[in-house]
Symmetry: C2
Subunit: 403 residues, 2 copies
């Protein structure tokens, strides 16, 4: 058939996905060491715990676990999520104040569907999660960026941008963001909430990585902090997920937000996928109820912390002043910048191609910027490589500079 | 907070969900007998088979079952679906020609996202699945209807409407449709495919009920028949689901379509939910591979056939000439029309309220019409009531006429 014969919607023209897709096609090359992924290590999954939870769900409530369920989510899971969040400092949250989503990706989609009209402005961090940018652009958003530094999004610039552009909402990943790994300071978190109230502007907090800290716990999430900033809960949406700490394959995320917004998002979800898999939801509920999460978190934090330290040390040793980065305090990523020192390669896109030839992969940073890409940047994930692979991968990266 | 302060998207104004929602809120009344549901009977779920499949998935491939997966779907499941469809006469289908969706509801959403621009016309059957109408309207579609009679959608009228309105696509549930229960004749199926080719117009076949036949197998699906109508595969989208025959809670559906459309739908799905639960997909794949589906289908067909016969007999006995319907040959629904004979009540909306008071529920037919609702219609599901409940429910319905 003639491809142009298909009457595709205009919105598809707003999205370009080829950059990273093309790179990922090369990852099948045998023997490649990958720092490119954005996912947790499947070797760390608590398979026994999930097996037991799934069996318990089918044993105790087979009907509920296999039947259609409420669009808002499976109530026992909503209760367990509230309890999970309470341990992270989130107070005064009831199960009715959250809906379960099919991964937090669906929360982003529902936010877009509920709020974005074509031409609306949305502010995101530069850099931010690539699929967020594309998700919002599919709804016709004009996505602009607020810069990020070592203390997270620059809230001074953010307030100026909000005043100037009156965006539909601001999207932030304050804790160990993808790809920046940055940790927003407590002061800026407070400033972001105050800004939301002052400008009556929704702030969306995406928090898939907040549990993955390596030393001290990070500052409270915007949601936890909202109880200290009067009126801020009315302007705050919070997205959470079990994907990074338990299993992405369950596709269990959630969204907290103002009641009216949640109601509209629920209506949209009804026509998106009716509800999130009750089988996965019941399994997740039994897992959380069984009390295995604290030990699981202890374990993954320890492993990722070790790998993060190893990757940072290896990068410093092998690449020296050719690369600059802040050692992450959590999450899955090292976000780095090629310095070009002593005339060395300073283009992440070029280095990515040369690295593949040397048998190591990472993702160049440019696609993570909705505007003004910095071509010197790169994202390296330490999550799925063990220590010997990290050492060898860094050595290959060094060779890639000379290729 | 002032509700009007939320900057909601315009598209939300296209959708109205209150009619059925309000009714469903009343279903919690104790002792009510419900013919209102649109779901299978959870007592018929093959819990042992699903438990074994889930355990096998976690045993043999825990990484794949719990990790992120390809947006297109889990390959072993795609292969099993191809094999499942081959037994239903679908030839020349490869796993790459389908994507797995989070229930077939998501297939509808992806079709809308991929194809519908605000103001586009889409043709559906009158009546059709309510969530389809709302799903397409959320993308701004102008939804118009082609009438349905005992042989399914009137393809003569359909061709006129296509020529007149040049719709983005036509959406049909040719086999035991929700709510009509109608079975499109072989002749009209062929006519629909020929029309699609002649007018270069996409036809979407939604087929969640085709496996639930009570006597002889229905005519081949449009997808199966497409191999006999030259060029029709280029204009055909087919949505399938395990929800009605295995378990809705898995949220496993699929979509077959022209390669370009599938590619675009996959891109949209990436930003909708990344992928369908790999845990659910691996469970479904192991279930299908274990060969339990034929026995499961035999069982559910037998039970639903018995209930359908019982409901039809009870309706005739209790309501006589007050109601008119065609006895369904499959599916989950009896679609009926109040005749108003001898001055009896002929408004399904009024009868629905009076029925609730008598302790029996059904769904009035009006909301299933995108245009020109027929207020005399009603949908009764026989799927979840056992034979004594069916008898008692029909007796209560009789009392509702006099209430």
């Amino acid at each position: 058939m003639n491809p142009s014969a298909l009457p595709l919607a205009q919105r598809l023209q707003n999205v370009e996905t080829s950059a990273i897709r093309e790179l990922f096609k090369l990852l099948g090359k045998p023997g490649i060491i990958s720092f490119a992924g954005g996912f947790p290590d499947s070797a760390l999954f608590d398979v026994d715990g999930i097996r037991a939870a799934s069996a318990a769900a089918l044993e105790s409530e087979p009907g509920a676990a296999l039947q259609y369920g409420a669009t808002e989510g499976y109530n026992p899971l909503r209760e367990q999520i509230v309890s999970f969040m309470a341990h992270k400092g989130v107070q005064a949250l009831s199960p009715e104040q959250l809906i379960v989503t099919t991964g937090s990706q669906q929360a982003l989609d529902l936010i877009g569907k509920t709020l974005i009209d074509p031409g609306d402005t949305v502010i995101v961090e530069g850099p931010t999660f690539l699929a967020t940018i594309q998700c919002f652009r599919l709804y016709g958003a004009n996505v602009i960026t607020v810069p990020v530094d070592g203390d997270g999004a620059r809230t001074d610039r953010l307030e100026q941008l909000v005043a100037q552009h009156q965006p539909k909402f601001v999207y932030l990943i304050p804790t160990f963001g993808n790809p920046s790994g940055a940790l927003m300071s407590l002061e800026r978190r407070r400033a972001a909430l105050e800004m939301a109230v002052r400008h009556r502007t929704l702030v969306v907090e995406d928090d898939p990585y907040g549990d993955l800290y390596f030393g001290d716990a990070p500052p409270p999430s915007l949601l936890a902090l909202s109880s200290e900033v009067a009126g801020s809960r009315d302007w705050l949406v919070h997205c959470g997920s079990l994907s990074k700490v338990l299993s992405p394959g369950l596709r269990v995320g959630w969204m907290v937000g103002p009641a009216e917004l949640l109601g509209k998002a629920t209506m949209c979800k009804q026509f998106s996928d009716a509800h999130t898999s009750t089988f996965a939801q019941a399994t997740a509920a039994h897992y959380l109820k069984a009390g295995r999460m604290p030990a699981t978190l202890d374990h993954v934090r320890k492993v990722y912390a070790e790998r993060a330290r190893a990757l940072c040390a290896a990068l410093r040793r092998e690449l020296g002043d050719a690369i600059d980065f802040v050692e992450p305090q959590g999450g899955l990523f090292v976000w780095a910048r090629l310095t070009g020192a002593r005339g060395q390669l300073a283009d992440g896109n070029v280095l990515a191609r040369q690295a593949i030839e040397q048998g190591v992969a990472f993702v160049p940073g440019s696609p993570f910027f909705a505007t003004d890409p910095d071509p010197a940047t790169l994202r390296l994930s330490f999550a799925t490589a063990d220590l010997p692979k990290i050492e060898e991968g860094a050595a290959r990266l060094k060779r890639a500079f000379g290729a």
